[in-house]
Amino acid sequence: MKNRVKELYGNLEVYGTYTKEQNQLYLSKDDTTRVITSRLEEICRELLDSDANHVVIELEENKSFIGFYPHSQRSIILLAGGPIDCFPMLHALLINDECTERTISFEEENVRKSFLRSSELLSQLLPVNDTLEPFFDDYFIYYRPLYQIGGDFYWFEQNDDKIMIILGDCTGHGVAAALVGIAMLQMVRSRFSHSEKELHESLYDFYDDLDAYHEKYESDEMVDLELGIVVYDKSKGTLDFTGSGINLHYYDGAELKLLKTRRTQVVKKELVHVKLNVKEGQKFFLHSDGVIDQFDNQNKRKLGRMGLQTILEEQCKGLSEFQFIKHVNAFKGQTEQIDDSTFLAFSL
């Protein structure tokens, strides 16, 4: 196809092709190089989600970015060039397909760029994984917001021989949820950083803060947050956990166990606080509900706790982000993601 593009219109720059493989999009610049950029991936996803078989992004005068996806092909061809020049070529290439198109205006493009820039900035606020290195033998972070960024967030904070790991799941998706997430994270940190209180007591304090926040700002009552908080004390060999809707699964070396929490435990003053004596080889997993709420490749059944159990049993043999992604993608197939999805795995 690329050769045919060049034959038909040599002056256009062929960026490459996107191919769906297990719902991942790869831009193949040539036979040996695969790259993914969020900008190109977004264009391709929009194309795949729409009924159109090509999308034209008007960048500025006489410059456009074009992705087209003939229904008879499995790859998206990405081109850069002037829109007027491109159309005859597109029609020639799409001769056997009904030609439908979507054009994104310059203004819309600006909004999209602004969104992407916001997303990049927000992504940079997430902690670097290096903080975990001294504490864990192995670990991985799977972070897949529904959009570029979302209401899920995680945070690590080291204090001498202790490390605190926070997983939060805010109501909503996208930049709005992410902004709420940042505000929530600051509130969480102010309650938990260097606190002398027991974890669950700090969690009650946090939810008091949240109530006060709603009252003070008369904010939308939809703002809410589920949390899972782990503090690992390396020198003492202990791990504390509390949560309000986010569970902790752990492998104690013999079996996989679950510490369940519910958001309603805050209201009922029944928060779970568990202190475990831990040792080498044990594994710990936190996840947001987007992981287990994902529907399967038939869009019929959720992964659920049973599905997660299978994945975790595999991870107990040895952490593998690759295996995790492979399993999740195989389950999900082409079915769309419906929620922010975060999974944290640690091995001592």
Partner: protein, 127 residues
């Protein structure tokens, strides 16, 4: 108004409210980004129903999935249903997929917080 019927969308639930018959069903998927507006119409209609002469109200919830924004709206709907108890006999059926413990637990949470009895009904598959 005798009926409130809303067809299920790709990400929005179906609604079948029969006000004369006193039966109210809602279910499917609720992954609405801005669910307040959607659920407010249901809440308002239940508020208006409280003054009707029908003495019984049977509610059936058959959700296969809802996001957290929708969950809060459904809870608000439940609170409106709770108010009906002063005037009517209210029955709530909460269906859940037998493998979906989370959906069962959400129903249990609603039951607990609102202090209303729910009939929890397990199904093989909510198609």
């Amino acid at each position: 108004m005798s009926f409130l019927l809303i067809e299920a969308g790709k990400n929005s639930p179906f609604v079948c409210f029969d006000f004369d018959g006193g039966t109210f069903k809602v279910g499917g998927r609720s992954v609405i980004e801005q669910p307040l507006e959607f659920y407010q119409q249901l809440i308002s209609s239940i508020g208006n129903y409280s003054s009707s002469a029908i003495t019984e109200a049977h509610f059936t919830f058959e959700f296969e999935y809802f996001n957290t924004s929708s969950c809060k709206c459904i809870f608000n709907l439940m609170k409106e249903i709770k108010k009906l108890e002063d005037r009517k006999s209210v029955v709530i059926n909460w269906y859940y997929d037998k493998d979906d413990e989370d959906m069962l637990e959400i129903g249990e949470d609603f039951e607990d917080i609102l202090e209303m009895p729910f009939r929890m009904i397990s199904r093989d598959r909510l198609d």
